[in-house]
Amino acid sequence: MGRIQLKGVRKAFGEVIIIPSIDLDIGDGEFVVFVGPSGCGKSTLLRLIAGLEDVTGGHIEIDGVDMTNVPPAKRGLSMVFQSYALYPHMSVRNNIAFGLKMAGQAPDVIKQKVEKAAATLNLSSYLDRKPRQLSGGQRQRVAIGRAIVREPKAFLFDEPLSNLDAALRVQMRIEVTRLQKQLGTTAIYVTHDQVEAMTMADKIVVLNGGKIEQYGSPLQLYEKPANLFVAGFIGSPKMNFVTGELARQQGAATIGVRPEHLKIERDGTGGWQGTIAVAEHLGSDTFLYVDAGPLGMLTARYIGELSLHAGDHVSLVPEPARIHRFDESGNALRG
């Protein structure tokens, strides 16, 4: 079991308030991603749940038990750090076994569990090596092994893939997701990478300035962003925002259209007119950065190759059903 509830959790460092007040309910077995720009408090929130930082106010409950003042060692959670944080003087085997040893488990049980975890993560042939003899990806796997071997109530991941190169990151992303589904253990994953958030999460918590902007499934966030911040943060390339007369015609202060929901027409007369400033041809996609005069720079995405180039004139027609409307304070308008 691993249900984690935050009730009015507050954190301040001296005068500086990092997290004003957060309520959150994370269900057993869910993969929840905290995402937000740097300094939004996502890592702090994770460390509060881990017990590595003390809360200033509020309560943290794990499986209904108040754990607010319980030391990290006794919360039954395990954590994977950005820097891996392996014990450099111990072999891979001892790194993975450390938590079990601390829990006072029998040596033969420890051996069996370590080998099982190592097999799951393809580490069996590295068990007697020291961390410094491993590559980044292997180190990350050891850190994950150390987390899973203890069969915790929940995994806490603090930007675990950000030190890996792009290709490895994608591969590890898939491995972590698969492993979590296989084990069925609750996971909280902190990242600033919205692609990681979208691909891995059952539910995403979008944080900004210590506040939850929106909590929901990846597609809910994509299709029904609660406000301008979420609309701009989720989705790549970023959503286009248009203010002024065009927005007022739609009864909104700002309207937003995702690049993939703009129909690109050569020499068209309808929609939003502009000149291509930059065209990116990826083969699978074509991204156009269009200078649309008073509307500013707009981004349009075309699936597949589109032979348009810088300087070409285009018109961008938004799909009417895919236009997001926001009021003056940035909140989404529905209906």
């Binding site: 590595l52 990290p72 954590m79 750090f81 950005q82 450390f98 938590g99």
Partner: protein
């Protein structure tokens, strides 16, 4: 041309380094040479450098007159004892300052260091009186306590510098793995800091070994280390240069050997953290 220039420079630097090294080492060398002279030759003007009748009679007399090994035993006990007791306090203290610093940690560190700036003689009378009243004069326990307290600031400072270099996340990982504070220090922090702890220990042993002020003032015979052994040769009957030299050579020999074999560690220790 440039190459010849650089070879010249290198030679000049090497010669200069050797010269400086020799100047620094000369008193020790002179002491060692004097210890093989007769008392008469030792005070001869002009002194003879190597051309004299080499003799080991000073060593024989020194050995006859006093039990060298007992002094060595005391020196080892005091130096190692005070260092071990010091570690027991310094490791947790340095841990707290490096990983759980408070608002006043920096001030505390500076204040600790400032105690080393006070001339020890300023504290002699109160400490002497305390020793007298508690019956600690000429006791090994009492002297270990003084030496340990004397060097504790340096121990803490050095360990603090090492611990600062250890990523806090590793200790947090240990905490998440269920390690208690004590186990975190014993199983994770200490093994990772072994090189740092080793050079701190070495330096502290050398400092305690050479400590003369307190050992001379607080001991007479039972707890007397090698410093007292050397001092006993500058007696009211007059200075016996050759015997004094022999005693001094014997006194520094063990620490010289220790220093020789651990110089790599020591240099690394003293410059640690100076360059990232």
């Amino acid at each position: 041309m440039a190459r010849a220039h650089s070879v010249q420079r290198k030679t000049a630097t090497t010669v200069a380094c050797w010269l400086v090294g020799l100047v620094i080492f000369f008193p020790i060398l002179w002491m060692a040479i004097t210890s093989f002279k007769t008392e008469l030759e030792a005070v001869n003007i002009p002194p003879s450098f190597l051309a004299f009748d080499w003799t080991i009679e000073n060593y024989e007399i020194v050995q006859e007159r006093s039990n060298y090994l007992r002094f060595v035993g005391n020196s080892i006990l005091l130096a190692v004892g005070s260092t071990l007791v010091g570690l027991l306090f310094a490791i947790p203290a340095a841990w707290a300052m490096a990983f759980a610093p408070g608002k006043r940690t920096k001030d505390l560190l500076l204040w600790m260091l400032s105690t080393k700036m006070m001339p020890p003689v300023g504290a002699l009378i109160p400490i002497y009186l305390l020793f007298r009243d508690f019956g600690l004069l000429d006791s090994r326990g009492g002297l270990i306590a003084v030496l340990f307290l004397l060097n504790l600031p340096i121990l803490i400072w050095m360990l603090f510098t090492y611990f600062k270099e250890i990523p806090g996340e590793i200790l947090e990982a240990a905490r998440m793995d269920g390690a208690t504070l004590w186990r975190e220090i014993v199983y994770v922090l200490t093994p990772m800091a072994i090189p740092g702890i080793a050079s701190t220990v070495l330096l502290n042993i050398i400092l305690a070994w050479n400590e003369a002020f307190w050992t001379l003032n607080l001991t007479t015979s039972d707890a007397a280390p090698l410093t007292v052994f050397i001092a006993s040769y500058s007696s009211p009957e007059g200075l016996f240069w050759a015997k004094l030299s022999a005693a001094s050579t014997l006194a520094i020999a063990p620490i010289l050997v220790l220093g020789w074999f651990s110089q790599k560690q020591l240099v690394r220790g003293l410059t640690f953290g100076a360059v990232k």
